[in-house]
């Protein structure tokens, strides 16, 4: 049980790290910063963060 909790915490931390980097990149690259852009960026960064974690795991399994 404790091991599974640690695994979940690690996964959440990794996705959060990806999300921080990607959302920062989005904020830098857009032209005007407003609420709608921030919301769309947060969603896109979340999707991309999940993709990034999946890609890293796939690369490590090889």
């Amino acid at each position: 049980m404790a091991r599974r909790l640690t695994a979940v915490a690690q996964a959440v931390a990794e996705v959060a790290a990806w999300w921080t980097v990607l959302a920062g990149l989005w904020l830098v690259l857009i032209q005007t910063v407003d609420t709608l852009e921030c919301c769309v960026g947060a969603g896109a960064a979340l999707l991309a963060a999940l993709g990034g974690r999946a890609a890293r795991r796939a690369a490590e399994q090889r």
């Binding site: 990149l25 904020l27 830098v28 690259l29 032209q31 910063v33 690369a59 090889r62």
Partner: protein, 155 residues
């Protein structure tokens, strides 16, 4: 015609044209290495052009090229792996190509950053520069990998 456009023209003639001529001649490895170098130089030319025409949105072209250029080069690395790994390039070639692919980036990005309005534009330019350096170094390493392994750990 201002100094930025003159610099872009100079980089086109002194950097991009020789790289293009190297792409047109020689064995496969030299062509692909030169193609990687030409990608980096073209992105730098686009950055200089955006500064020269005073259109900050033109940097998007350099950004797209900085993302897609390494992808294209790694396509060659993946599909021509047998030919590329058949022989190992000399250490001098590896070093020269790494330096040539990385050194011009800060030389161009730093003045453009200094000239651009401080703020998010600067961060964007720095992000483009970091992408260019990382992509160029990664591609050069992948293309000059020794036969039978190594440098494949990124994928």
């Amino acid at each position: 015609m201002n100094g930025w456009l003159a610099a872009a023209c100079a980089l086109l003639l002194a950097g991009f044209l020789p790289a293009l001529l190297c792409v047109c001649t020689g064995p496969v490895r030299r062509r692909v290495l030169a193609q990687n170098l030409a990608t980096v130089l073209a992105a730098l030319v686009l950055l200089l052009l955006s500064q020269g025409y005073a259109r900050p949105s033109y940097t998007d072209m350099a950004l797209v090229l900085a993302v897609l250029g390494p992808v294209g080069t790694l396509v060659y690395e993946r599909l021509l792996r047998d030919e590329l790994r058949a022989a190992r390039p000399s250490a001098r070639v590896t070093r020269t190509m790494t330096v040539l692919g990385v050194a011009p980036v800060p030389l161009v990005v730093a003045p453009v950053c200094a000239a651009a309005a401080p703020g998010r534009t600067t961060l964007k330019l720095l992000a483009v520069g970091c992408l260019l350096v990382a992509g160029s170094a990664l591609c050069t390493r992948a293309l000059t990998a020794p036969p039978g392994g190594g440098a494949g750990d990124e994928r």
